[in-house]
Amino acid sequence: MALHLGYVTRETAVSLRRNLLMTLAGILTVAVSLFLFGGVLLLSRMVDHGTARWKNGVELEIFLCSKSTAEPDSAKPACRSEASEGQIAAVRTELEQSPDVRRFRFFSKEDAFNEAKRIFAGDPELLSNIDPEGLPVSFRVAPKQAELTEKVAAHFNNRFNDGIDTVLTAKEQVRRLLAGIRWIRGLFFAIAGVLLASSLFLIVNTIRLATFARRREIQVMKLVGATNWFIRVPFMCEGLIQGAIGAGLAFGGVYGLRVILSDLVDRSKNLFSAFYVTGGDAIAIGLLIVAVGATVGAMGSAIGLRRFLDA
């Protein structure tokens, strides 16, 4: 097989130029879909960081009685007084010994107030209304399996005499929110996937149309004694170049997005500070993108050339 580099370069360039519009469309779609793909990955990293509190299987919170929830004179079952140190220690011991609990964390009044400050940083009026002393202490509990949540919750619920006010299983709304975020993320992954498929499609097509438009030419080349590789290599280079350029653009886009998002998060201070994304994340995603782009390009070429391989 005699494949001069000059020949391959020349033929590839000619073919890319001849199908310029098509080439651009291919590159653009690869870039857009990979960018979306990368953007989705980036956002989901941010969401991961932002919702870390609810990750790791934290499924329930046990609130102990606080000054403000204590109703010494109520007829209904309710907290009589703030939970004592002894009661807190008892709950802690119980959690430590429960076979259903994987992990738990104690939240002091101070922790609760800090969290409130973080969450309601935007509303000084409300914050000023909150008395740190009135806030309840709590335990955040991760059961061994998600299925055990209800069991653990039932165990601790309605034990006002032990200083336990109420048990919240991962708050319904937060769950919904997380579900919503997950759902939207899924949607975006789906869109990115569709776009990726359609860019694969496009590259396959660019190649196939290029071979189709030139099938007479290819046939003639073969009749003159050209090997399959002699004809194929320029086409494959075409696909690879499209994939690579598209991926490069997408990489740039994702990196730019990261810079912009970081900037936004910084400026919004506390409100979003949990939703950060590291440079490492961005670079890992970028590399993934380039790999996907190259794969798409190569696969596109291979599929596009398959019919022609048979001939």
Partner: protein, 239 residues
């Protein structure tokens, strides 16, 4: 050099283009393949280049039997054969020069050799001036001559010429025939399809006639039409 052994070739649609053809052409021969339109002449060429595969029978080119030739070897088979196609089959986006050069590039000839040989060959067919033109900027006869130039650019052992003078005036035809004759004298086997009785009658070479895919005549120094010269019916051998 070339041997057909009971070769039959049908196309889908039920046409039998070549029927039980047995024919041998020796090294260095010059053979005219004649016969009415649609009698299977071009099909014979296609079979020789393994563009089509015979239904039954066997075909040898050199010492290779085509049906047992693996497909990756086909390009190498074709490099030993030059073919002037009836419809020229020029590469539309390459200039005359590039078209001829392609046949040399394909076999890996270095650029310097290509640069030296192509102009010589174009000169032989009288197209030096058109080297930079694209095929669609040529007249019919000029395209035909490019096809001829490409066919023997790489000095093939076998030259198949399918109506190489169909679009040429008598003077040009004579020139091409002289060229083919010269190529033949260097030892190249030449097989030529033609409807030009003038040429056949003048050259007096071996004539093989097909009719509806059947070999009906194989004459040593034949005329276009069956004439006064006695008909030598050769059975798969040289007349």
């Amino acid at each position: 050099m070339i041997r057909f052994e009971s070769v039959t070739k049908s196309y889908k649609g039920g046409v039998t283009a070549v029927k039980d053809l047995t024919l041998e052409i020796g090294k260095g021969e010059f053979v005219f393949l004649v016969g009415p339109s649609g009698s299977g002449k071009s099909t014979c060429f296609r079979l020789l280049m393994k563009e089509e595969v015979a239904d039954t029978g066997r075909i040898w080119v050199g010492d290779r039997e085509l049906s047992s030739l693996s497909s990756w070897k086909v390009p190498y088979l074709r490099r030993n054969m030059g073919c002037v196609f009836q419809d020229f089959k020029l590469l539309p986006y390459k200039t005359v020069y590039e078209n001829v050069a392609f046949a040399l590039e394909v076999i890996g000839k270095p650029r310097s050799v290509v640069k030296q040989q192509v102009p010589q060959i174009l000169d032989l067919v009288g197209l030096s001036k058109k080297a930079a033109n694209l095929p669609n900027e040529l007249s019919g006869g000029e395209q035909q001559r490019v096809s001829i130039a490409r066919a023997f650019a790489n000095r093939p052992l076998i030259l198949l010429a399918d109506e190489p003078t169909g679009n040429l005036d008598p003077a040009n035809s004579a020139g091409i025939m002289r060229l083919l004759d010269r190529i033949n004298r260097t030892g190249t086997t030449v097989v030529m399809c033609t409807h030009d009785y003038g040429i056949v009658d003048l050259m007096r070479r071996r004539v093989v006639e097909l009719n509806r895919g059947v070999l009906v005549r194989d004459e040593a120094q034949g005329a276009y039409a069956t004439g006064p010269v006695p008909v030598v019916q050769a059975e798969g051998g040289q007349a």
